[in-house]
Symmetry: C2
Subunit: 295 residues, 2 copies
C-alpha cells in the first residue's frame, strides 16, 4: 500500500537501556527498516526513524508505544524540550506509492488504537488535524503536559479521541501527517540561555525570520552550552545554509560563535546537496553523479 517514514519522539533521552528496549522492536522486522535513532540527555528525548510499508510501520509504532508507556513515567520527567507524553509525537510522512489522504486515514487509525489499546488521549496535527487550530504541533503542545492537563480539567483543549484526561504516567500523544522537515540544531559557544532564546525568536518565522522555521532556545547544561533548536518545515525552500548563516549573523551581535550543528533524524539528499552547492559555489551538479545511489 506504499511506503512511509515515521520519526516518533520519546520523552526519554538519558537511559540507553530504555531506548534500546524501544528501538529493538524496530529491528529485524519484515517490511520495516530502522534507519536512525538518537538521544539527547539535555532535551531528555529520543528520536527513532523507521521506513517501510505503511501497515508494517504502524504495527511497529504501536509496539514501541506500548513499550514506552510501560517504561517512561512523565511524573519524574525533567528536560529542556517541551513535551506532553511518553510517546510525545508520532509524525507520518508519505514517501512512495501512497497518497496524502491514505496516509491521513492511517494516522487516524493509529490514533484510535493508541486511545483504545493504551488509554492515551490523542491529538491529531498537521494534515491529520481535525480542527484548523491544531494543524501546528506547537499550538497543540503549548505549555506542555501541565498546561494541557489543566486545560482538560476545565473542559478545554480536549483530545480528538481517547479519555479527556492525561494517562497517569504517559500523558498524551500527538499523531500527525506532515511533509519532510529537517530538525536542525545550532549549538552556541556560550552558556547564556537568554542569547539562544533571543536568536531563536529572531530567526523563526513568527519573529520576522525565515519562512517555515520554528526555533527554540534550549539549555544544554551537560555540555555547558546553549542551543538554537529548529524545525525547518520547508527545507527545499529554506535551505540549511540560510538558516545557519542567519543564526551566525544574529549571534555576532553578542560576540558568540557557533560551536557546532546537528541534523537530528532523517534528511533528504537534495537538502544536503543544496547547502553543499552554496558553500562550494557549485554549478551544474546532478544528483546522478553520486556513485552510491547507483550501487
Amino acid at each position: 500500500m506504499g511506503k512511509i517514514l515515521s520519526s516518533p519522539n520519546f520523552s526519554e533521552g538519558s537511559s540507553p537501556q530504555i531506548l534500546e528496549e524501544i528501538v529493538s522492536l524496530a529491528r529485524n522486522k519484515k517490511n520495516v527498516k530502522l534507519i536512525d535513532y538518537s538521544s539527547d540527555a539535555d532535551h531528555n528525548r529520543s528520536v527513532v526513524s523507521i521506513i517501510g510499508e505503511a501497515e508494517a510501520v504502524i504495527e511497529v509504532l504501536l509496539e514501541m508505544s506500548r513499550k514506552a508507556v510501560s517504561l517512561i513515567n512523565l511524573n519524574n520527567h525533567k528536560g529542556q524540550h517541551p513535551r506532553c507524553g511518553a510517546i510525545d509525537v508520532i509524525p507520518l510522512i508519505p514517501l512512495q506509492g501512497i497518497s496524502l489522504e491514505e496516509c491521513v486515514r492511517i494516522a487516524h487509525k493509529l490514533g484510535e488504537r493508541l486511545a483504545e489499546e493504551l488509554g492515551l488521549p490523542v491529538y491529531f496535527y498537521g494534515e491529520a488535524a481535525f480542527r484548523e487550530e491544531r494543524r501546528d504541533l506547537s499550538d497543540v503542545r503549548r505549555g506542555g503536559l501541565e498546561a494541557m492537563a489543566e486545560d482538560m480539567r476545565q473542559g478545554k483543549r480536549l483530545p480528538d479521541i481517547g479519555p479527556p484526561s492525561p494517562h497517569p504516567t504517559a500523558g498524551c500523544v500527538i499523531v500527525g501527517v506532515r511533509d519532510f522537515l529537517v530538525a536542525f540544531n545550532v549549538n552556541l559557544a556560550t552558556s547564556n540561555l537568554d542569547i539562544a532564546r533571543r536568536i531563536a525568536s529572531l530567526v523563526r518565522e513568527r519573529g520576522g525570520g525565515l519562512v517555515g522555521v520554528k526555533a527554540l532556545g534550549i539549555d544544554l547544561p551537560s555540555r555547558g552550552k546553549v542551543q538554537v533548536s529548529m524545525n525547518i518545515t520547508m527545507p527545499l525552500k529554506t535551505p540549511l545554509y540560510r538558516v545557519l548563516e542567519l543564526v551566525k549573523l544574529e549571534a555576532k551581535r553578542y560576540g558568540v560563535e557557533v560551536e557546532s550543528t546537528e541534523i537530528v533524524g532523517p534528511v533528504p539528499l537534495k537538502v544536503l546537496i543544496e547547502t553543499l552547492s552554496y558553500y562550494l559555489s557549485l554549478r551544474d551538479f546532478k544528483i546522478e553523479q553520486i556513485v552510491d545511489i547507483h550501487i
Copy 2:
C-alpha cells in the same frame, strides 16, 4: 564477475551531435547504466560515466571507442586540456565484487582489443601500468599527442601494445585502473591565465600543495574566465573544502575571487558529506540519516 565504474574521456566537447552518437551507445544496455556525461567547449572534451558488470562495461567502452575513432579527428583538434587521442583516457575503477587484480586483467584485455580492432597504440597507467614510470597519467601524456608522436619517431615512449606510431586521426589511447578520484574545477573571476597557472602550481602536490592533488591552469575563453582544473586522487584524505579554501587563499594574493566550482563526473557520497560537514560544523551525522539511500 563484479561491478566497475568507467569514465572515458573523449576529445570532443563542442559538438552535441557527436557526443550524443557516442553516449547513445551506453543507453538501454543490459547490465550497464549510464550515470552521467558532460562536455566542456573550452577543454574540448567530454566525460561519460558508466557503471555495470565488468564485461558488459568493456563491450560498451569498445563500442563507444569505435564510434569516437570514426567521428573525431585529432588533426583538427583545438582545446585547452592536454590530450593524446580521440578516446583520450579510459580509467576503470573496481566498485563491488571484483578485485584490483581482476580489474587490471580486464584493462589489459580491453587494451589488446583497442590495439587489434581499432589499430590504436595503447598505454597502460595506474594499477594497470607495465612500467613504474607510467603509473602517473600525466607522465604518460606529457606534452600531448605532438610530443608523444615525436618521441615515437625516435623510438622512445613506445606504446605498451599496438602500433609504434599514432593512429592517423585518432592518436593514442591510455587505459588504466585507478581508485576513485574527483575531478574538481575552480573557476576564477579573471581572464588572466597566468594567475590560474600560478595557483595551480601552488596547490598541487608537486608544488608543495595538498597531497594527491593534480592541478592545471586552463583558459576558458568562451566564458571569459580561467580555471584551476584539478584531480583529487585521494578525496577522502584530501577533502574538497580544503582544496577550495587553499585555492581561495592563494587567489587572494591576486585580489581574485572564486566565481564557481564544478565537480565533473562521479563522486562518492562520503566525499560530499565530509565537505558539507565542514561548512556546517556538523557533528555526529550518519550517512544512514539520508532518506534517499533507503528507498
